[in-house]
Amino acid sequence: MTEMTTPVVVEAGASRLARWLPRPTPKNLITLLITLILVVGEWSYGIVGGYRKLGLTLGTCVLTELVLSWFLLGRMPFLQSAYITGVSLTMLVRPQAGLVWPFVVGAALSIGSKYVLRYKGNHLWNPSNLGLAALLLLAPTRVALLSHEFGNAIGANAVIWSVGILIAARARILHVSLTYAASFALLAAARSAIVGTPLLAELAPLTGPMYQLLVFFMLTDPRTTVRAKRGRVVTVASIAVVEALIRLGNDFDMAWAAPFAPAPPILALAIVGPIAMALDLRRRSVRGGQNPTV
């Protein structure tokens, strides 16, 4: 009797479980990837730097999203975006010892930008990119980003890149990630030739956590990426070019480049991303194809 009924129970249980498990949509896979980076980073090297920091950042992101969505739009938001933003900020923001406000303010600025910095019904900046850029440019005496490798383990890096590439392919955004990586590598070679620095030193930043988050989450954010595939490729390549200019400016000690030196890719995206997005929105609105979203 028991033998007869057991499969039925299991099947029913599995069915209930399946209902609760998130479906492998692109967004869910991306969420899974950033969680993987968080867990691997924390488990291997304590990248979180304290659960208070994680709680504060994530909590502020979620709370800001809930409050602003309800206050301005009168509806409950999806919180995946807030979660991804919160995790990115937790890993990258490295303020002066003892400071808590950069996590709270960075999170609030990031999510708030989605509701404030808008053009033709869309926000222009990837939220975490905006938050990081604002903290770095407004308070560099207080805030830095994770500017070094955590742990320096090739294995952990290989896992993150491999899983990231698989998920990006599944989410149909691999062309964005690969275009940036290839552009960075080509321009690194060019910079190496111009400046005379070893090529490996110029390529080295690509392996850091800042670039992992940039390549798999910020550049590929569907809400702040131009719609056409070719446009995305051009945009991402342009970001790499602006980053290369920032880097060359610093290699040659040009004063204008100094404020961008701590995080060239983050700030290049903060410059190029919204311009490309605005141009795309304008083009789409001319064609009558705008699609306002938050």
Binding site: G46, G112, N152, P198, A261
Partner: protein
């Protein structure tokens, strides 16, 4: 209101809030210690210093060592250490002398003998302590003084890159090299060492740390793969070694059985009883890695402490200063680290040991304490005798070009994965760039609150040079009952800051003489009760970075100390108690064997 079309008032409120956050962020950036340079009247509370090195006969300038041309691209970084100073009593006259280290080929070290009136003469050449920088043998990086043979005079171990040297004091200011016959003939690339009696047998043992791995002769390299293999968790540094004294002037290597052979990139080591079990422990500041506390288990072996808040915080430890920041009888450490706007905020660590109550090394650092720039040597000391220990912190790494900076170049290599970073040849060239150069020495005044609040007063009190500071040492050089400050600067002058503070509080000091244990009483503790406080100080050998303080323990008492009581705990286990000792004077206390 319809979704996607919020009314104007709501939108205006949200926009105003967003603008407020932007303004707040900008304003907070303006308040940072790195930005706030203007003096703040009233915070110094009578503390005054005046730089008097030349006035008192000291004109020493540090020279840096050189490295193999294969790593010339980052020679500026590799050779950016070596300036060191130790306070000692080389001639045994009771007045603190200064031994200053240079690192350049053939450069002479200086032994500044205190004439007794606060003026000095260099007697290193006739003492046999000048000519120790010999190409191919040793580039000096520091010295630790102690009476290792318990014969009543101060001997010295000079460590560095190459073969460190043990020099025995023969009296009459004459030192002889006894390195080989003592069993200390080994090569290392060392930036720290300390004497302590880990097994409490009455003979001082020697702990020597490694920075670069010992297989590298930095002047004649066989490979350029000499650097750390990680910026946060490097373990490919030089091996630390523990040498146990056999009591006959010789030593044996007990590193393995004692379990203290860390290969992290150690820059500083201090010995004290952090867990209050009666045995001296070892606290290490490591570059490219977390601090390490090796707990002494019955004088037989050491265990690396875990779960006390150290292993998760990987930074760039440069020095360990030892004090009692609360004046509550709990040991504190101040470990310097790196802060640089926009790039890196590791923050200095100010920790209080709660190990006696099964707690952690409690982190207290923030604000001015955490961010001094690229901080190196530091010391605790009560500069105004108000009953609370202040901090002096030397800062600045490489001062070269004022226009060109290496931080951006550093940020490229610091993101490398694998062992790319270990290969010096792959690092961008320094050229004439600075790296956190021209940073100011800081004085952090302890405000005496239960939360250990400090205010930075370096500019107000005249202790604010911009050299590349390395070693900081404290001593009462002129015997006026106030702590003076000596700073050794990389490629710069040895500075002597005379304490001319007015309206300071009462004070008391103790010179301890061991009879059952080691003669220098290294490891002995004085716990002083006064007012409502209970301050703990420990006799140490090395303390800070490449430095040694005057061994005399100086306590500030404030203006109204009330009943004063001192308890001396000797390494032998003996205790000495002093009730109502006379104030404003130095007490010589000899171990009497009572328990």
């Amino acid at each position: 209101m319809t979704p996607g079309n919020p009314n104007r008032i709501k939108r205006a409120l949200v926009h105003a809030g967003f603008a407020g956050l932007v303004a707040f962020t900008w304003y907070e950036g303006r308040l940072a210690p790195a930005v706030r340079e203007a003096p703040r009247p009233g915070k110094a509370s009578g503390i005054r210093f005046r730089e008097v090195a030349r006035e008192v006969g000291i004109d020493f300038v540090h020279g840096a060592t050189t490295v193999d041309p294969d790593v010339a691209n980052i020679a500026a970084q590799i050779t950016a250490v070596g300036a060191a100073v130790s306070v000692c009593d080389a001639d045994g006259d009771g007045h603190p002398d200064l031994y200053a280290i240079s690192s350049a080929d053939g450069a002479a070290n200086a032994l500044y003998r205190n004439r007794g009136d606060g003026t000095f003469e260099d007697v290193a050449a006739r003492a046999g302590l000048a000519e120790l920088n010999v190409p191919g043998e040793l580039a000096c990086m520091g010295s630790v003084w102690a009476d290792y043979d318990n014969d009543g005079d101060q001997d010295v171990f000079v460590y560095g890159w190459g073969q460190g040297q043990l020099l025995r004091n023969e009296g009459q200011l004459r030192f002889v090299r006894v390195t080989a016959e003592s069993g200390l003939a080994f090569r290392a690339n060392s930036n720290a060492a300390t004497w302590f009696d880990y097994d409490e047998d009455g003979w001082l043992d020697l702990y020597v740390t490694g920075y670069f791995a010992e297989e590298h002769d930095l002047r004649a390299l066989e490979t350029t793969r000499i650097m750390h293999d990680s910026f946060e968790f490097a373990r490919n540094g030089g091996r630390n070694r523990l040498y146990r004294s056999l009591g006959d002037g010789t030593f044996e290597d007990v590193t393995e059985e004692a379990g203290v052979g860390s290969t992290r990139w150690t820059y500083a080591a201090v010995a004290a009883d952090f867990d209050r079990d009666g045995w001296p422990d070892l606290y290490l500041a490591n570059d490219y890695g977390p601090e390490e506390l090796f707990l002494n288990r019955d004088g037989e072996r050491f265990e690396l402490a875990s779960g006390i808040g150290l292993e998760g915080e990987s930074k760039s430890g440069m020095c360990v200063a030892l004090g009692d920041v609360w004046s509550q009888g709990k040991l504190s450490v101040f470990v310097t680290n790196i802060s640089r706007r926009g790039y890196l905020f590791q923050g200095n660590n100010l920790r209080v040991s709660m190990l006696d109550v099964q707690g952690p090394m409690l982190q207290l650092a923030d604000g001015d304490v955490a961010d001094c720039g690229w901080a190196w040597g530091a010391q605790f000391g009560d500069l105004d005798d108000d009953g609370f220990q202040d901090l002096v912190v030397a800062n600045g790494f490489i001062s070269a070009s004022r226009e060109r900076d290496y931080w951006y170049q550093m940020s490229k290599i610091s993101l490398a994965t694998g062992d790319v970073v270990a290969d010096a040849a792959l690092w961008p060239a320094f050229e004439d760039r600075s790296l956190s150069g021209f940073e100011r020495t800081r004085v952090l005044r302890n405000l005496g609150t239960s939360t250990a609040r400090f205010v930075e007063i370096g500019r107000e009190v005249g202790l604010d040079d911009h050299y590349d500071g390395r070693a900081v040492a404290l001593a009462d050089l002129d015997g006026d009952g106030r702590l003076d400050v000596v700073i050794a600067n990389q490629r710069g002058p040895l500075l002597v800051y005379k304490n001319e503070s007015e309206g300071s509080g009462r004070w008391i000091a103790f010179d301890l003489r061991g009879t059952l244990g080691n003669r220098d009483a290294i490891g002995a503790e004085v716990e002083l009760e006064f007012a409502d406080r209970r301050q703990l100080q420990v006799v140490t050998s090395a303390c800070g970075f490449a430095a040694q303080n005057e061994r005399r323990l100086h306590f500030g008492l404030g203006s109204d100390p009330g009943a004063v009581r001192a308890v001396v705990r000797w390494p032998s286990g003996a205790r000495t108690q002093l009730e109502d000792p006379e104030l404003d004077r130095v007490h010589v206390v000899t171990e009497d064997g009572s328990r």
